[in-house]
């Protein structure tokens, strides 16, 4: 019975791929190839591989040399004389000399040409702070808390469980 399906199944399968190609397929392919060839012809000279590759290589070489030189300069030992570190006092600290506030309006035209003024930081040694007195804390009195038990549990009585005897008849 199923054998009669075979021919029909094959026919249906064949029909599922029986659509012909578009008549202009070959023409479209040729057009695309011609366009691609035209694009190659209009390509700027500098984008050609035999120009681009050497130029890119030289650029990479230059960058490598620059980076190497920068690295070697930074690796040299520092020749500046070592000075003992000085403490920079914050603005408004006792050791700092206060200057009266000078707004932009107070500045003369000769000063305006120099740009905005910035507060100058002066380094100055800071005098040691006076010793702090140890604070004394008074003890706090706390009343005793009496906590009652939450629930009083009754005793649970469980009676014995009685099981009936199970009679099992002998197998025939």
């Amino acid at each position: 019975m199923l054998d009669r399906f075979d021919e029909l199944v094959d026919d249906v399968a064949k029909s599922m791929t029986a659509a012909p190609p578009d008549a202009s397929l070959a023409h479209r392919v040729s057009t695309r190839i011609a366009e691609a060839a035209g694009d190659d012809g209009r390509r700027p000279v500098w984008t050609r591989p035999w120009v681009l590759v050497p130029v890119a290589s030289v650029c990479v070489l230059i960058v490598a040399v620059v980076v190497t030189r920068e690295g070697s300069v930074r690796l040299k030992p520092d020749a500046t004389p070592v000075t003992p570190p000085s403490i920079i006092a914050p603005v408004g600290s006792p050791g700092l000399v206060e200057r009266p506030f000078q707004g932009r309006g107070d500045r003369g035209p000769e000063n305006l040409a120099r740009g905005p003024e910035r507060p100058a930081l002066r380094s100055q040694a800071v005098a040691p702070l006076p010793p702090l007195a140890t604070p004394t804390i008074e003890p706090i009195d706390v009343d005793r808390l009496d906590v009652q038990p939450l629930v009083e549990m009754d005793e649970i009585q469980i009676g014995p469980i009685a099981l009936d005897r199970i009679e099992i008849a002998a197998m025939p």
């Binding site: 399906f5 029909s15 599922m16 659509a19 190609p21 397929l25 479209r28």
Partner: protein, 192 residues
């Protein structure tokens, strides 16, 4: 059409003779299109795949060493293009699942002659064809692809094996298994 002519045309196309490549396209466009259609299911998509496959082949023409025939080489490129196309955004799935699309479901539009008989016979015949088509669509992809390629009558088993990168024996088994599953599903749906 013979492979010897293809070799000459390929040689000329390699030298930049676009007319020679157009001859190759005309020779093999039916086989290429049919292979693409087996994979993507829509004639319009198959046209796109075939066009891209020919363009890719033209660009890779220098890498064709003649170990296989130009047709086999071309079909392999086409199949890879078609599978890539099918994977993109599930186009293939939509084509197969939807009953109607704006351009018509391709496999629905391709009907073969109904037998002469009463209207009831004709209706039953159409219903059976639809059931077969549905059963083929529901096959696992490996079986369905191979079955459609084989039943197209366009390719030998060896060519299909080269296309889908499987052994010839595997191709034969897949065709047989696909037919068995289709018939099994027809019986399950009450067609006897």
């Amino acid at each position: 059409m013979n492979a010897g002519d293809d070799v000459e045309l390929v040689a000329r196309a390699r030298e930049g003779d676009q007319a020679a490549f157009e001859q190759l396209v005309l020779r093999h466009q039916a086989a290429v299109h049919r292979a693409a259609l087996s994979a993507v299911g829509s004639p319009a998509d198959a046209d796109d795949v075939a066009q891209e496959a020919f363009l890719l082949a033209y660009r890779r023409l220098k890498s064709f060493r003649g170990e296989a025939t130009f047709k086999t080489w071309m079909l392999t490129i086409t199949w890879n293009q078609a599978i890539n196309h099918r994977r993109k955004a599930g186009r293939w799935w939509r084509r197969f699942v939807s009953v109607e699309t704006e351009e018509g479901t391709p496999f629905e539009s391709l009907r073969f002659a109904s037998p002469s008989g009463t209207p009831e016979d004709l209706a039953a015949h159409d219903e059976l064809r639809d059931a077969i088509r549905q059963a083929i669509r529901e096959l696992p992809p490996a079986l369905r692809d191979t079955f459609l390629l084989a039943q197209s009558g366009e390719y030998t088993y060896d060519e299909i094996a080269a296309m889908v990168k499987a052994k010839t024996g595997t191709i034969k088994w897949r065709v047989s298994e696909a037919r068995r599953l289709v018939k099994e599903r027809l019986v399950a749906r009450g067609h006897k």
